[in-house]
Amino acid sequence: MFSNLTFGKRLAAGFGFAGLVLLLVAGVSYRTTNNLIDNESWVAHTHQVRTTLADLLSEIKDAETGQRGYLLTGSDAYLQPYLDATKQIKDTFDVVQKLTSDNPDQQRRLGTLSQVIDAKLAELQRTIDLRKTEGFDAALKVVTTNEGKAAMDRIRTLVAEADQEEADLLAKRAVEAQASAQMATGVSLWGSIVGIAAVAAFGWLITKSLGNLIGGAVGQVQSSSAELQAAATQQATGAKEQATAMSEITTTISELLATSRQIAEGAQRVAKVAKQTAESAQSGHRTVDVTHDSIAGIRRQVDQIVAHMLELGKKSQEIGSVLDIVSELAEQTNILAINATIEAAGAGDAGKRFAVVADEIRKLADRVGGSTKEIRTLIDDVRSAVNTTVMATETGSKAVDAGSKQFGDVASAFQQISGLVTTTTETAREIELSTKQQSTAVEQVNIAISNVAQASKETEASSSQTLQTASQLAGLSKDLLRIVRPQAA
């Protein structure tokens, strides 16, 4: 959970806890100290009560002492302590009553004491008055009644009880003061120990977590610095290359400018040549027309050749048909001659001469058969030659047609050339004008490229500065990491 807190929240949590412990210790200490102070005040108050009670008793004793001296001597000089004490007793009693106003027992006791003191002072005044008016004996008579002594004993008892009451309170407050002092000491000691331990623990936790946090951040900063350094280096290299490229572009633009001028001159020459070409194209068109007529004549001659050759082929076919009949006749003659030979052989000696004639006829038939075969071969050759010639002439005819068509295409091409050359002339003029405009534009581009080259140099300088800054940043992050994580550095 602590690791999920932010840097500020971790600090606030740590210091808040330590402050809470200190606040607790301070509160307890404050309360204990206040108790001690109150206790001290009450102790002083008790001492004051006891002192005032002692003073009251002493003043009553002084009044009794003055009364006794006056009774014994009758001299007014001895009345002075009595007079001083009677004046003081009232005030002292009031002080005691006021000091013990918070104690009902003491108030009740002081009520009784007040009555007893009044009775005592009245007895003293009466005896003094008797001494003045009636003499020593009258006064002694009253004294011997022990009325005064009993009152005095009662006063001593009551004062002693009141003093004892205050002494008990003093002892009780001393115990409370001791407890408060121990409480203050314990709270201060353990509170300080707990506070120190908490502060130490939180300090360790915060140091550790902040070390991790800052260490990680510093590591990232270091990594980013390295990347920034590499990027700056690359940017510087790129800027240098860009500057070099810009120089090359400037050179190329200059060459382009020169080339544009050459193109403009070339365009002028093209316009001139195009005009001459248009004239030549018109002349060529006329020549093509004449040639086209000649080709039409060739076409007619070729058609006649084809017709004659087809006729020749037809005649050859007819010769072949006649030759088939001749061949068949020769074959039948041969068969007849063979049969005649057989018959002659059957006729014996009478048929020998007939056999010779029959053999001659057979040979003649053989020869006719051989001749017809040769003629058949020759006719086949002629027909083959005719077919070849017809095909060649048809091919030639197609070639003539194609040539005629091509000449037509050439004629139309010449017309197109003429038109295109006119267009070319106009286009060449436009190119000339455009090239001049282009030259102007290229000059402007040259100026712009120079500006860009200057900007590239500035970029290069800026990249170097960035590289330097990145290096410093990397060094700083390394130093910071060394501070945060000495072992990692």
């Binding site: 039948q332 020998k352 001659e360 057979r362 053989d366 040769e374």
Partner: protein, 167 residues
């Protein structure tokens, strides 16, 4: 000399030479072809030769018998010489010869010519050739050797195998 001149010269020479009378030293043969094989028929065993003769088919169980045909007024059975020599039967009849030994006609595929061979050129079968059915002799010509079909043997075979078909 042109080819026509050569032919005219041979023609004229043929009529100018004296007729040959030494027929006793020579024998006549008919050069025929059965399928792709060349054969020869002795002319003395043939009584007539015919071409494209009409043959009337008859129902028969004999594969070698084509049918009947008329030859100069005589009706004769027509046999397939190809089948009689032990080869598969032919389907058509073009050339025919009638035999001297009996009134039968034999059909063959094609006629290649008339041969006059000296008797020395007629030889018996060699040691490696052996004797085939109805072939007992061979004739040597300028270009090749032809087996001579013994028509008398063929007729004897027909007479033995198909006696009711021959008179």
């Amino acid at each position: 000399m042109t080819r026509a001149g050569e032919m005219r010269l041979a023609f004229d020479r043929g009529f100018a030479e004296q007729p040959r009378t030494d027929t006793a030293l020579r024998e006549s043969f008919l050069a025929i072809r059965l399928g792709t094989t060349a054969y020869a028929l002795r002319l003395s065993e043939v009584s007539g030769m015919f071409f494209n003769k009409k043959v009337t088919r008859i129902p028969t169980s004999h594969a070698a018998l084509f049918g009947l045909a008329s030859f100069r007024g005589a009706v004769m059975p027509v046999y397939d010489l190809h089948a009689l020599l032990g080869f598969p039967a032919s389907s058509t009849v073009r050339w025919l010869v009638t035999t001297s030994a009996a009134a039968v006609a034999l059909a063959f595929d094609s006629f290649e010519g008339h041969l006059q061979i000296s008797r020395e050129a007629v030889v018996p079968p060699g040691t490696g050739e052996g004797s085939r059915d109805h072939v007992h002799e061979f004739v040597r010509t300028a270009g090749d050797i032809r087996a001579v079909v013994d028509l008398a043997s063929v007729v004897t075979f027909i007479r033995a195998q198909m006696p009711q078909t021959i008179s």
